[in-house]
């Protein structure tokens, strides 16, 4: 496989390595009670009718339609790609999703299916979901996926190093991954359910952003605790502060456990209230989900027809 040739020369890091680790370790502590209260109060915002339809449309355009099962087959990827391009076959006014997210082996299938549609192909890599394989193999996996032509690569933070206090080493791994990903859009999964506290989430966010991540992402979806509103808010605030400090905009991806349209709208409210209207775009906000899409379609149907929709009338993934 021809690799390396497509990989661009490394981009300059947003901050110097020594500064990056200091940023992560010395970041301000998070007020957990305040954070949860603010997330809860923002979640109560009432978004109705036209605003709701607009939000649901954005939720679809920002969606990474995901399938990360060991049982994924070529047939399933073909089906999911068709759904990504035209979520509701009966309704051309529904926009395509942002990307399809899958395992590396299935990237060529998705690339072929999605060619010319504008829907990106995102692949997990780097020893997903634990990120604890040999470093060389993990980096090689990222290089391979980039060489295959995936537009976006979702890697995992090495939580073992990070939680063990070896911030510099975790940082260096992320920088190496950034280098290996080349031109591909890099999303770093923090797996917040394993980090234990909001302080840790904020530190990990800072570390990943300083290492050159284009996006920071909440979860793999492979453990019990997935994305929650307070955790997302914590990461959004970290991204806001990082943007103020360095001028570099970082995207946020919420993943795992987002099944209802209502949740998606709550996350959009958090993003809007924390980072502003500039982030209300698929370039800077993503939702990784599989079953969410049908619920959003059902909500759109309900808004349009004035009757509650049923799952029998939508395609199964």
């Amino acid at each position: 496989m021809a690799q390396a040739a497509q990989i661009e020369p490394s981009r300059p890091l947003p901050v110097a390595p020594a500064e990056a680790v200091r940023m992560a370790v010395r970041t301000t502590a998070v007020d957990a009670v305040g954070l949860e209260e603010r997330a809860a109060s923002l979640a109560k915002r009432s978004i109705k009718r036209d605003a709701k339809l607009w939000a649901l449309d954005l939720a679809i355009r920002s969606m990474d339609l995901t399938t990360l099962e060991g049982s994924d087959t070529v047939g399933k990827i073909v089906a999911i790609c068709a759904k990504a391009v035209r979520p509701n076959p009966l309704d051309p006014s529904i926009p395509p999703v942002a990307a399809v997210c899958l395992y590396p082996q299935l990237v060529p299938v998705a690339l072929e299916q999605l060619e010319g549609t504008g829907v990106n192909v995102a692949s997990v890599a780097g020893g997903f979901p634990s990120g604890l394989g040999p470093l060389g193999a993990r980096l090689q996996e990222i290089r391979d996926v980039a060489a295959t032509g995936a537009h976006e690569i979702d890697i995992v933070l090495n939580r073992s190093l990070f939680l063990g206090g070896r911030y510099a080493q975790a940082f260096e791994e992320l920088v190496a991954a950034r280098e290996a990903a080349g031109a591909a859009h890099l999303k770093v999964i923090l797996e917040t359910g394993e980090l234990g506290s909001y302080d840790r989430v904020r530190q990990a966010s800072m570390l990943a952003m300083a290492a050159g991540a284009d996006f920071i992402k909440t979860s793999t979806g492979k453990i019990g605790t997935n994305a929650t509103l307070p955790v997302a808010l914590c990461m959004l605030e970290a991204a806001r502060d990082f943007h103020r400090e360095t001028g570099r905009p970082i995207g946020i991806k919420v993943a795992g456990g987002v099944r209802a349209a209502k949740q998606a709208i709550q996350y959009l409210v958090l993003v809007h209230e924390t980072l502003g209207a500039d982030w209300m775009t698929p370039d800077r906000f993503r939702i990784g989900a599989s079953s969410l899409l049908n619920d959003v379609l059902m909500q759109i149907e309900k808004e349009r027809t004035g009757r509650y929709a049923g799952p029998d009338y939508f395609t199964i993934d």
Partner: protein, 286 residues
Amino acid sequence: MADERLPVRRTAKLFIGGEFPRSESGRSYEVFDADGELLAWASRASRKDLRDAVRAARAAQSGWAAKTAFNRAQILYRVAELMEGRRIQFERELRDAGAEDPVRGVSAAIDRWVWYAGWADKIHQIQGASNPVAGPYFNFTIPEPTGVVGIVAPQDQSLLGLVSRVAPAIVSGNTAVVLASERSPLPAVSLGEVLATSDVPAGVVNILTGFSAELVPWLAGHMDVNALDATGVPDELQAQVEELSAENVKRVHRAPEADPFDEVAQSPYEVTAFVEYKTVWHPMGA
């Protein structure tokens, strides 16, 4: 020390997915007895409560249908046992609602529940068939539950009428979203409490109290409701219900006109009103 203690009054709540929430809208309405005295405040369900109830019913449906028919019969029989234990409460509620003979009303409701429970493992025999076909196939037909059934319970006979609609719907493996009698919802609320303490899985029966005119159109229009028992739908809404139900081709059924105490009011055809027939062509050696 005063002997008089403060009365502990019951708040009549909804019954959704095995739980007793108040209406998400926070609304309630007054329930009066036959003499016009205030009896209680009942929850006034909103369309969102109805949506939640349908979701609970849908979630419970496959598991309920997957139980063996014999097991469903046992579970439903136990509901009758527990109703017997709450007889005094039901009688009082029927008396408050103005029933002429509350004792007879409760007895008939319990008997009807038992009668329908017995059909769980018999409906297949009388409605299933093996069909003669011109080919090397064993061809047979079996009844299967329709799915989620919306039930608008009759306004009169708030217990017997309710039982006569709910029991035949769920015995075959359907789950139900029930709109209780608007005027006298309390026996339905008590039935919910009986169901919650029996072995009927959460979500198999969901009971909403409130205004029919508000809720019926949402129930009839819901695309995830497969059938509707429109027995208690007010006359002025009947046409609208038919129209809304047509959108996803809901089965719409009404109880036959008969004295609810009469034996003709209970029939296996009330069970088969909410089943679908599946025919299987099974190849076999010529």
